[in-house]
Amino acid sequence: MDIDALLLSRLQFAFTIAFHIIFPSFTIGLASYLAVLEGLWLATRNEAFKTLYLFWIKIFALSFGMGVVSGVVMSYEIGTNWSVYAEVASPVIGPLLAFEVLTAFFLEASFLGVMLFGWKRVGPRLHFVASVLVALGTLTSAFWIISANSWMQHPTGFKVLADGTLRAVDWWQVIFSPTFPERLAHMTLAAYLTTALVVGAACAWRLLKQPDETESAIALKMAVGMFAIVAPLQLFVGDLSGKEVLRVQPAKLAAIEAFWETRTEQPFHIVAWPDHAKEANRWEVSIPRLGSLITAGDAKAQVRGLKSFAPADRPPVFIVFWAFRVMVGLGVAMIGLGAWGVWLAWRRGGPERSRLFLRACVAMGPAGFVAVIAGWIVAEVGRQPYVIYGVLRTADAVSPVTAGQVSVSLLAFMIIYAIVFSVGGLYILRLIAEGPAAGAREEAASGLRSPGSPLAAAPHDPPGETGR
């Protein structure tokens, strides 16, 4: 085995999947939001919903495209860089990934075409069905990939053969492994929150420029409602998920909380500087006994520390500890933002009236992405040194490829991703800056509106615009 190829393969996988996860976590929420908007438009015929739909679908198209192409990479990278993993685990995990393609990817891809280009070709109801199916597809995709990932976190329902490959003995236990329900709920809520934060930030930005933009005010209220409901729910689900980690991955939990000693009445470290070599925290700011209370639900409970695991079995502590704090810190900020918004709606006549709140919404726009990536780091780095927890070590899973090959491919991925995703981000930000009303004018100009709709007669594009 080539040590450098291993390290580079890990870097490449982390890099490509960290970029990839940004898009699904946004488009899962956005697809549902679009289906809701179109449903509201069909039910109320309030044109504001249609304007919002036609605005966010453009951003959806851009994000979804980036999600698709960065996702295709993942399905081949497992083979190019982790061929041993593929051979060993595929008899168990392969069907889950195949089902993701069959139940989700085709559904999303096919009905996305109708959603984006079929406005004039199918009736409004059928178009709505397409939007709902795309939303269902994104959720189904999350179901399978979190199922596969949960199994890797805590594998059940399998056996190891003499040649080292795995076999399923109980598919139910493979697909619905014990940590799966909490983790799926956690990921789905994270996606919804991420989307709500982006929508909220976009509306807030528009309202700071154009305080009377009706569509943005409506969408801001919807986003605030999501913060207020989903963010506290996420704290609850996240806690459930954490309890599962204590039960099935005690080493990860010890890393999350930087517990080194096994003891009762563990203190809670608000911040700390964990040091592998010293097997202790260089410094820490702690609350006595709270650690046991939070993780095990009882201040008197004994919680294992990292020193009870062989050094070769310990995950990197520093990065897991801090990623967890970033995630939770942002989660708490989201709860605060929701509470503030509800208070403004209740006592101050609407969240759109406070410029300070609007600025806070803009600042929190990227928070969902940061929290998702931080949470992903906690889950995946916390599982190290294993790729399949307790079964297959990451170091044993790598392909027989050379460090030279992987360093060139990593460099190429970095260059292409830097171009594609910064330009894509720029285009999305440009659209957001223009706002939903600009989108409605464009649609009217290109003649896509149904005849008789109020905007069908709206003034046309500014001169000089080319193409459509």
Partner: protein, 341 residues
């Protein structure tokens, strides 16, 4: 009921790859032809003709890769590292051309020019990379202890470059025939010219590839009854329908082009692809990693194959059904109003 699951699955993976090649083949082909369009308006039309369906087409590639992983993990584990460089090239190329669909509409002047070039370059590079993988596959892969044991550039030979040229020409032909079918006026006329040129190139490259394969790869040649400069007709006979199918495809294509038909050239081109695909399969079956591993040796556990087959039995007809429906929704010539959203 007992069922030969690995055989069913090699058929299903084969079908997925065939559908991928035909479907993404034409939309990659449209990208390959992009630089030859007369005007930006023509390029917009070319893109509009494939925009609603390209994502679904590319999903067959994900099913091909994911299906190979799930059904034949050992083949996946050997082949992917063997083709590390061309596979990575293909992925990068598909990224560039995939995002170009949306990015071209959002860019300003320089941005649009860049993404136009990225769409054409990415489509062409993806076709080249797929050809290199195919060429490397036919050449065979070195395997020791159930793992790839060759060098990083084993796939790079004049033979694989010849195959890559064939794939580019073939996709361009499919793309041109698609445009004949989906467009009218000047672009339609241009597409006919592109189809004639690429059809000539495909016929020549098919002949060259067949000849090179017979001369360079005796194992494949033996399957066709070719050895020491002569054919064994008893061996060749049962396979003659394959070149005959290719010839029939070329004839339909040529007649369709001569008589100005709109749909026939695409049918002819598809038959040529089917013939080439069947020809390849006849050269390898039952190997899935040529000359080393058969599909049975590489197959996953029976219980995994059975579980997936249960899913496929329900899902594949549904997928085919709604895919056909989507093509039907977007039937007919693509017009200047076909625009976005």
């Amino acid at each position: 009921m007992t069922m030969d699951l690995p055989t069913v699955w090699i058929g299903l993976i084969g079908l997925a790859v065939l559908l991928y090649v035909m479907l993404d083949g034409f939309d990659l082909g449209v990208g390959i032809l992009f630089p030859f369009a007369r005007s930006p308006a023509d390029r917009d039309l070319m893109m509009d003709s494939i925009a609603p369906v390209w994502d679904g087409n590319e999903t067959w590639l994900v099913l091909g890769g994911g299906g190979l992983l799930a059904a034949f993990p050992l083949a996946y584990a050997v082949l992917m590292p063997a083709f590390y460089i061309p596979i990575t090239l293909m992925l990068l190329a598909l990224i560039l051309r995939g995002v170009a669909f949306e990015f071209r509409l959002r860019g300003r002047r320089r941005g649009t020019a860049f993404w136009t070039a990225a769409f054409a370059g990415g489509s062409t590079l993806a076709a080249v990379a797929q050809g290199l993988v195919l060429g490397g596959f036919i050449q065979g892969v070195r395997v020791e202890h159930r793992a790839f044991a060759g060098g990083p550039f084993d796939w790079l030979t004049p033979y694989s470059l010849l195959i890559a040229a064939g794939v580019v020409a073939g996709y361009a032909l499919l793309g041109a025939c698609w445009l004949i079918w989906k467009t009218d006026d000047e672009l339609h006329g241009d597409a006919r010219r592109w189809a004639r040129i690429s059809a000539g190139a495909v016929a020549a490259l098919l002949a060259a590839v067949s000849l090179a394969t017979l001369l360079l790869h005796p194992r494949v040649a033996a399957r066709w009854g070719y050895a020491d400069g002569g054919f064994d007709l008893a061996q060749l006979g049962p396979r003659l329908w394959i070149p005959a199918l290719g010839a029939a495809g070329l004839a339909i294509l040529a007649l369709g082009l001569r008589r100005s038909r709109h749909g026939a050239p695409f049918v002819g081109a598809a038959l040529v692809f089917l013939s080439g695909y069947a020809g390849l399969a006849a050269g390898f079956f039952p190997y899935i990693v040529p000359y080393v591993l058969t599909y049975r040796q590489a197959a996953s556990a029976d219980n995994a194959l059975a579980l997936m087959l249960g899913g496929v039995a329900i899902l594949l007809p549904a997928i085919v059904g709604y895919t056909v429906w989507v093509y039907w929704v977007f039937r007919g010539k693509v017009g200047a109003d076909a625009g976005y959203h």
